[in-house]
Symmetry: C2
Subunit: 192 residues, 2 copies
């Protein structure tokens, strides 16, 4: 299981053999049943997760209405950085949409990762840069894109999730009611 | 001038004497007259700046209406990371509101900074984390806070800019017409 994470890290930086054992000691396996929360509203996000299997959903509860920002699936890191980095309460919620297996690392252990590995800081910088850009693009899309464009982006970014998660969550991501999503889907299908 | 930048870097990490000369060689002084652009719409952001003197404004042009995201002033870094990190065209515009003096570093020279300094990667990670959190908070505020709250946050975050920049730009940041800003200001003053 740790091999999948190590493979992901080695896409960005070189890792020495003895460092692999250190990494294996910092990350721990955690299982979430469908419906379990990785992060609840108002809790502080204390871990970064790496998804081995399953899908997690990011959303906020806006006066009773759930608004979906995004999803994390196999080989994605999962974290609310707005809460994790300053260790402040989260407005965002992260919930398992399927039974999930994650490798998680705590805040202090992640600092050990950064300082103890030769390329730890470099890996941290590269990942946070990637997550930063993806988060900015996601937020700007969330607030400014039309539902039609949101749907097209969803299909492009998460093609395998189309069949994997309930339509209700896709509609929430797109920003429409489920019945409107059906119309958007059929328009997009007829165009192909 | 480089001493101000070095002081800022040394708040986060230790810098060796010989590394200071390297840093001085990577950053270059650049002056912007009031009205000049640090970054134009559709251009790729190729530099990170560090403000020695003056104020810069971040905004987007939304169908002819300028929407102001934030400001950078003395000892702030200035950059549109959504454009700089992936080296893609910018939607955001960054413009000098006063005559400004910046120290700027190009994309490739910044990579040299990261790899050549003992703590270069660490500094890069720490700064990008801080900028990430500030950017997320700013974006969420931009899209969800009331004008009243935006004004209160402006006063708290940029107290010296209240007298320094035209009301027009403060109104644009708050998200109201200048005449509405006057009403918000007087309500906030009368509460004190």
């Amino acid at each position: 299981m740790i091999e999948i994470l190590l493979g992901e890290i080695e896409k960005a930086v070189h890792v020495e053999q003895h460092e692999k054992e250190l990494i294996a000691g910092l990350f721990h396996e955690k299982k979430y049943s469908k419906g379990d929360y990785f992060l609840k509203e108002s809790d502080v996000c204390r871990h970064v997760g790496f998804v081995i299997s399953g899908v997690m959903r990011y959303y906020i509860n806006d006066d009773g209405e759930e608004k979906t920002y995004g999803f994390a699936k196999e080989s994605d890191f999962v974290c609310n950085n707005e809460s994790f980095l300053p260790q402040q309460p989260s407005r965002q919620i992260i919930q398992a949409l399927e039974d999930c297996t994650l490798l998680i690392v705590g805040y202090n252990d992640l600092q050990t990762f950064y300082t103890s590995l030769k390329n730890g800081e470099r890996f941290g910088r590269i990942v946070i840069e990637q997550v930063f850009v993806k988060t900015l693009q996601g937020l700007n899309s969330f607030y400014t894109d039309s539902p039609e464009l949101r749907y097209q982006k969803f299909v492009k970014e998460y093609p395998d999730l189309l069949q994997r998660i309930p339509q209700y969550y896709i509609a929430s991501y797109v920003g429409v009611k489920p019945q409107s999503l059906s119309r958007i889907r059929s328009r997009n299908t007829s165009r192909k």
